[in-house]
């Protein structure tokens, strides 16, 4: 079974009846590993479509959860159930509950470090006091505003208030939470979440290839959310110093937010500052300060390293890239593509009005970046298949476009793999207008292919 990956969470959704004989067939360790390889930091089995389960059925998942957790340090558990199912699971496992339970996918996302919609007002209740506290801390660390009801009466009273809360959390249990270096993109900044004790292990858990390729595709601001870091040793100090020095070649900035030096030598801070790392107390000190964001280079891409030429390897594989893109857009719009022209040049867009764009980087045996520029009409049409209806909500279209570009990236990966070329893909980026795209690519030379879908112009641009 394949997972749907959303905001760093891999959701598996079995359907029907779950017992000892079927449980192992629904999910394999390979399925989970494949999902983790795509940067998932939480693996959840949705019980939304499961009408019956017994202990044996759940056990087959739980055994896999334990293996995956110990190998990959990610959060594992179940989601999407009603109170009856929640009570059944609690009853099955009682004091042996090592996994997490999230009543809905929306609630699970609040606990994912990759979740981008922060500042949610959340009412929560759990009869276990330590669970209430653990949830409040996690939610607060993830940038939300948790309100904890200390008793069922208080919860009932508060939950009756209309529109007071964005989300209400009940029937949720936090097992061991993940320790992976989670990644999320906020605007043009990439936020990494680190926690606990930072030591030599950071070199293994931090995805350096992903980081380097984020630099290549134009990200310049990297924020380490360090609220949950207890201490750092000299190995981690060296790691971050080197990371910062390497990023300096790209004009990149690394910031630490919320780092406490209670149990870390104070002189470490000076060393890190000497290597260019900046320190902030609160995430909002950066993200809510637009001037500072600009100053830190979040939306600037100009530097020497970026101007890498398109090379023969990339051009040789061009048909694969175009195949992947065109086939995906054709699939999503159910319309036919006609190629109008192809050139090696800097990007030429013509009119900037009514266009949105997205990009995705790839790296491995070869590297580069695919940029897709859509007339808003095509973008909406392409997203309709995923959304299920027409929409004028630009934010929703941009979010869905990111999913679409993910499909393109996945298809590129598959097509190249057929030719024994192994690549990974970065998170997709979207651009609400052409100016924000040009900040990244205007000086880059690449292959531009102009396509037409039902007479609407669409631009494919491949660069490095």
């Amino acid at each position: 079974m394949r997972a749907v990956l959303k905001d760093g969470i891999g959701f598996f959704t079995p359907q029907g009846f779950l017992d000892g004989s079927s449980g192992n067939s629904f999910l394999s360790i390979d399925d989970i590993e494949a999902t983790i390889a795509q940067n998932a930091n939480m693996i959840l089995v949705s019980l939304k479509k499961v009408i019956f389960f017994n202990r044996n059925g759940l056990d087959s998942f739980v055994k896999m959860f334990q293996k995956v957790r110990s190998a990959n340090h990610c959060t594992v558990g179940f989601c999407d159930y009603d109170t009856k199912k929640y009570n059944a699971i609690i009853n099955f496992y009682q004091d042996d509950l090592s996994f997490s339970l999230f009543k809905t996918q929306d609630i699970a996302m609040l606990f994912s470090a990759n979740y981008k919609n922060q500042n949610k007002n959340i009412l929560l209740y759990n009869e276990d006091k330590s669970q209430r506290a653990a949830m409040a801390i996690e939610l607060h660390d993830n940038g939300h505003n948790p309100i904890v009801a200390q008793s069922l009466n208080e919860f009932n009273e508060k939950s009756n208030a209309e529109n007071a809360y964005d989300i209400i959390i009940t029937d949720t249990y936090l097992g061991q939470m993940g320790q992976k270096v989670a990644t999320r993109v906020t605007g043009n900044a990439i936020i990494y979440t680190v926690s606990s004790f930072l030591d030599a292990e950071i070199g293994n858990t931090f995805n350096i290839a992903y980081h380097n390729n984020s630099l290549n595709v134009g990200f310049r601001l990297f924020i380490f959310d360090t609220y949950k870091v207890i201490s750092m040793n000299v190995h981690a100090l060296n790691f971050f110093s080197k990371l910062s020095s390497a990023g300096a070649e790209y004009n990149a900035t690394i910031c630490f937010v919320g780092m406490s030096f209670d149990k870390t030598p104070k002189e470490f801070k000076e060393t890190l500052e000497d290597s260019g790392i900046m320190f902030f107390n609160q995430m909002d000190d950066i993200l809510q300060n637009k001037e500072l964001l600009e100053e830190l280079g979040a939306s600037s891409a100009s530097n020497v390293k970026d101007k890498r030429a398109i090379n023969k390897t990339t051009v040789t594989e061009l048909p694969n890239f175009i195949d992947a893109t065109v086939a995906t857009i054709e699939m999503m719009t159910n319309s036919k593509a006609i190629k109008e022209s192809a050139n090696v040049s800097k990007m030429e867009i013509g009119s900037k009005d009514g266009k949105i764009a997205s990009s995705i980087g790839f790296y491995g045996d070869m590297d580069g970046m695919i940029v897709l520029i859509f007339p808003i009409g095509i973008a909406k049409k392409a997203c309709e298949l995923l959304i299920g209806e027409e929409t004028n909500d630009t934010e929703l279209v941009l979010d869905t476009l990111a999913e679409l570009v993910n499909i393109v990236g996945g298809k590129v990966k598959t097509l190249l793999a057929d030719e024994k070329i192994s690549v990974n893909i970065t998170l997709p980026r979207t651009y609400p207008d052409i100016d924000s795209l040009l900040e990244i690519v205007q000086d880059k030379k690449g292959v531009q292919v102009d396509l037409s879908f039902n007479n609407d112009k669409f631009i494919f641009f491949l660069t490095r």
Binding site: M1, R2, A3, V4, L5, K6, F11, T13, P14, Q15, G16, F17, L18, S21, S22, N24, S25, F26, K48, K49, I51, F52, N54, I310, K312, V315, T316, L318, P319, I322, D323, V326, A327, T328, E330, M331, N334, S335, K336, A337, I338, K339, A342, N343, V344, E384, L385, L386, G388, E403, L404, N406, I407, G410, K411, T414, V447, V449, L451
Partner: protein, 280 residues
């Protein structure tokens, strides 16, 4: 050099699935063979001997009936090999159901691509569904030949999915890796018709009774029938489908999530179903 190479790129991509693809699929369905039609005609009049004689004329049908009824789920101790014997044991209604099951196999591909199925697993699926559907109808105290046969059309939804999506397997997988969307919804959003509408067209082409199509549409879980009995049967059939597709062999065939299970639709019959199937 680079520019010259680019100019040779030729774009010829098939579009996903269109109404024309569906029409072409329907048009390619052959009419029911003569021997089959005659067999059904005699079964409809209750003449098992004439029906068996007609069925013997079609070697593939005879062979299929033999394979089907000798599956363990049918529970016969000794091998049954003569068509007349098979019809005699099954009786008119179940013989008719078996013949309709055979008709569905005429549509199934020789090699499955989208689903990890083969002839044996597909026949097992038909047998599992048929036997449990009979159990359900006995429980509901329904003795109706058309209703008993309606289960035969259900696997057509799997065959149609295979036919329409087999060349787009990787696209479908990618699409489903970013969005929880089933094949039925993809088809509905792309073409405005769903798998069950196409199954209905197949039923019409093969002159199956209307009642069979009506129950199948309700069994999609998405189109409740206004007729109370049809809707009730649709619920039982929908739940039976997912009860069956939760078996290990069908999960491994990747059938479990080809369409969406509508839990709410079947919630009022679940307890009764689980008692009947002795689910613990």
């Amino acid at each position: 050099m680079i520019v010259a190479k680019i100019m040779y790129i030729n774009i010829k991509y098939p579009i996903m699935i269109t109404k024309e693809t569906i029409d072409s699929f329907i048009n390619k369905i052959p009419p029911a063979p003569k021997a089959l039609k005659e067999t059904l005609l005699h079964l409809n009049t209750g003449d098992l001997i004439k029906a068996a004689n007609a069925a013997k004329e079609d070697k593939a049908l005879s062979s299929y009936l033999k394979i089907l009824v000798n599956k363990p789920i049918y529970g016969f101790k000794n091998e049954v090999s003569e068509v007349s014997q098979i019809f005699g044991i099954l009786g008119v209604s179940r013989s008719r159901q078996a013949v309709y099951n055979y008709m569905m196999t005429l549509l199934s591909p020789s090699k499955w691509v989208l689903f990890k199925l083969n002839r044996v697993v597909f026949y097992n699926l038909q047998a599992d569904l048929s036997m449990n559907w009979q159990k359900i109808l006995t429980h509901l105290d329904i003795d109706d030949s058309d209703i008993l046969s309606s289960i035969s059309l259900l696997p057509a939804s799997i065959i149609v999915s295979e036919a329409l999506f087999c060349e787009k397997k990787k696209d479908v997988e990618l699409l489903r890796s970013v969005n929880q969307i089933d094949l039925n919804t993809i088809l509905q959003r792309l073409c405005g018709v769903d798998l069950f509408d196409i199954c209905q067209q197949i039923a019409q082409k093969w002159e199956m009774p209307q009642k069979i199509s009506d129950i199948l549409q309700a069994a999609s879980g998405l189109k409740p029938s206004e007729d109370e009995m049809t809707n009730r049967l649709g619920k039982w059939m929908h739940l039976l489908l997912f009860y069956t597709l939760s078996q290990s062999k069908y999960i491994q065939a990747e059938l479990n999530d080809f369409i969406d299970f509508q839990i709410d639709y079947v919630s009022d019959i679940y307890e009764e179903f689980s008692n009947l199937m002795e689910i613990t």
